[in-house]
Each structure stands twice: as C-alpha cells, then as structure tokens.
C-alpha cells in the first residue's frame, strides 16, 4: 500500500516541479511509460486479487521500465529499434488488456 501512496506523491511532485528529461533519454520515454502502465495495472489487479505486495510492485515497476528502455536502446544499437519497440508494445499491451479485463471483472462482476 505504501508503494501506491509513494507513487501518487511522486506523481504530484513531478507535476509541480516539471523537471526536464535529458535529451539522450527521450527516445525511451514512450516505451518506459507503457511499461509503467503495465506495472500499474498489474499492481491494481493484485490489489483487487488481494495479493498486493509493496516489494513486488516496486521491483516489477522499476524493472519493467528499465528493461523496456534497455530493449529499445539495444534495438537502436542493432538497427531494429522500431521492430523491438513494436514487440515490447505488443506484449505489454496484451498484458495491460488482460489485467484491465481482470480488474473490470473484479469491479463490475461482469
């Protein structure tokens, strides 16, 4: 639970401080955001499933973002950046969809 509260606090700080992201990191932002969304939906679902765990949430969030950005970086270095981004987005997208569907079943019982 504490992790979710921290996330909200961080989001508020981010909104008010508006720091700029270094230019070198900008290509990885979209994929990192998608990965963060995936972790967020996973966390919500776990919360509703009653198995939420701060440690797992924080670690999966962090590793998701870092790994997704790293894959894109690797792809850029190998010249397959777009294709790898697509692969990551497809996998994460499906997961987000599945988790969102589970959350929906929890909340609406339908």
């Amino acid at each position: 639970m504490i992790a979710l509260i921290g996330l909200v606090i961080g989001a508020v700080i981010g909104v008010f401080l508006e720091p700029t992201v270094p230019l070198a990191l900008q290509p990885y932002l979209p994929i990192a955001v998608v990965a963060a969304l995936d972790a967020l939906f996973g966390g919500l679902r776990a919360l509703l499933d009653g198995v939420f765990n701060d440690r797992v949430f924080v670690v999966s969030f962090l590793s998701n973002v870092v790994v997704a950005a790293f894959i894109v970086y690797l792809g850029d270095q190998l010249g397959v950046g777009t294709q790898l981004s697509t692969a990551v987005v497809v996998v994460l997208g499906i997961r987000i969809f599945a988790n969102a569907a589970a959350i929906r079943r929890h909340l609406l019982k339908a």
Binding site: G14, V15, V51
Partner: protein, 299 residues
C-alpha cells in the same frame, strides 16, 4: 481473455494430458495467462518471515522512496511526451522561415555579384579604355543593349495585378504568358530596357511559371507585377496601343478583371541583369581595331 483468467484460477500446473487446442498459440496464451506478474503469487505463497520493526520500517521507507521516484519519473515522462504535440513548431512556419532565410541568402549573393561585376567592369574599363577607346565604346554599347549594366532614364510603368473580383479563380490571375506577351509588345514598341519587379530582362531572360508563381530568370515574383520600361514613353505608348499585346491586355481586363495601370515616369532606375557569362567570342579584326590585347572580352 476468459480462458486466460480461467486457466490462471485453476493454476498453471493443471494441464490436460491431451494436446491442448490452443497449443499453437502458446506464446499468446502465455502472455495473457501470466498477465499478472507471477511475483505477486509467489510473494503471497511465501510465509512471511518475522522481521524486527526497525527492518520493516527500513523496507517500507525504501519502497516509499523508490515509489516516489518512479511516480515522478513516469509523470515527467508523460508530460514530456505530451508537450511537443501541444506546442511544437508548425512545419509551415519552419518552411516559411527557411524560404525567407534562403531568399535572404540569395539576395546577399546577388548583391555580391553586383559589387564584383562593378569591380570587373571597372577593371575592364581601365584596361580597355586606355588601350583602345573605340573598342571600349563598342563594349559599353553592347553592355547597355544586353542589359548587363544598370540603366536610368525616363519611360513607362505598367502595373498588372490579379483580379480583386474573384481571388480564388486561378484563371483570373496574371499568367506567365500574359507577361511574355506584354514584354514582347513593349520590346516591339521600342522599349530600350525592361524590368519586372526589379528583375531586368535581357535577350536571354525567361518568363515562366512554376505552380502558381511566375518566375523571371528563375526568380519568383509576387503580384502586383510592375513592368518598368525605359525608352521614349510617347512612342512606346502609341506603338504598344496598336499592337496585339494591347488587345490581349484589354481582353484580360475585360474577361477576368485583371487591372492594368499605365503611367509615365521621368526617372526610372533599372538594375543590371547581374550574371554575365561569356557565351560567344569572335577574334577582333586586328587591322581595324588596332589592338588584339582584349580580343576576347567583347560580349
């Protein structure tokens, strides 16, 4: 989605012995059924080991710090990604700026050419005039006739403008062929030098169109088109009125509403055509001109 959730609820290990129907979609099934990070299930299954309150607080603090950082990074990334869509530079503005920059550059280079040609002309004059005044006079005459040098004098100003009646009608705009007919009519009527919007016409000038723009020697012009003519304005006006070009202008203003405004001007300044390249050279007759030193310099 339903199968995925169901298979998860029944547990991953429970698999029917027969080949599953969706075995060929193993990857997809895997992604869907393991949508929730397996770490949650493992953590829930693990028995919580007893921790001292201090270490629990430390862990909580670490989680909080990490989560704050992650939340901030995510929000910053999102705002950063949204920003360009809201306040990005308009590509049209960029193109306009680039066109303006390049035009300024071209103007700068053109003025460079002017300065350098003046210098060349001066050196040429110094060199030729002393040695062979006759040849120099001939050269000056040629330069004047070819439009290579700027001229001043009295003459006519004709201003053609697109119709104000129907601005959307492309037919009703001044076309390159209109300017061709008018300038040819003016030459025929005795014009000595002509410039359109400051672009001097020579015997080698081209009036063409590219898209909707009229180009004179590849320089785009904007309406209104101001045709400046140096010459005997009386004679030109009379001769021009009798030519077919005048008929054409009457047709343009009658049919499309293109405005034609003609006036006399006592002091016109027409620029030189700038770029002069040697296209043809004859060896001068040594016996008649006296010197062959500048034999190749006449245009």
């Amino acid at each position: 989605m339903t199968t995925g959730a169901a298979s998860e609820r029944t547990g991953e290990g429970v698999r029917p012995p027969a080949r599953r129907l969706d075995a060929s979609m193993g990857l997809l099934t895997d992604v869907v059924s393991k949508a929730l990070d397996p770490g949650y299930a493992e953590a829930a299954a693990r028995t919580e080991e007893a921790r001292s309150p201090a270490s629990r607080a430390a862990r909580g603090g670490a989680h909080l710090l990490l989560a704050v950082g992650l939340g901030m990074v995510t929000v910053v990334a999102v705002t950063q990604l949204r920003a360009p869509a809201l306040s990005g530079p308009d590509p049209r503005d960029l193109l306009e700026r680039e066109i303006a920059d390049r035009t300024a550059e071209a103007d700068g280079l053109a003025s460079d050419i002017e300065v350098l040609s003046a210098e060349v002309a001066q050196i040429q004059a110094d060199a030729v005039a002393a040695v062979n005044p006759g040849l120099f006079a001939q050269l000056e005459e040629f330069e004047l006739a070819s439009g290579a040098v700027a001229v001043t004098g009295s003459g006519l100003v004709m201003v053609l403008d697109d119709t104000a009646v129907d601005p959307e009608n492309e037919e009703a705009r001044v076309q390159d062929v209109d300017l061709q007919i008018v300038t040819n009519g003016l030459w025929a009527a005795g014009a000595e030098a002509i410039a359109i919007n400051g672009q001097r016409l020579t015997s080698l000038s081209a009036i063409r169109s590219a898209g909707q723009a009229i180009l004179v020697d590849l320089n785009p012009l904007n309406p209104p088109y101001r045709i400046e003519v140096v010459g005997d304005s009386h004679r030109i006006q009379t001769e021009f009125a009798r030519s077919s070009a005048a008929n054409h202008l009457a047709f343009l203003s009658g049919t499309f509403g293109i405005t034609v405004d003609t006036s006399a001007d006592s002091s016109l300044e027409l620029p030189g055509a700038g770029n002069r390249s040697l296209r043809h050279a004859d060896p001068i007759d040594v016996a008649s001109s006296g010197s062959d030193k500048e034999g190749k310099s006449s245009p």
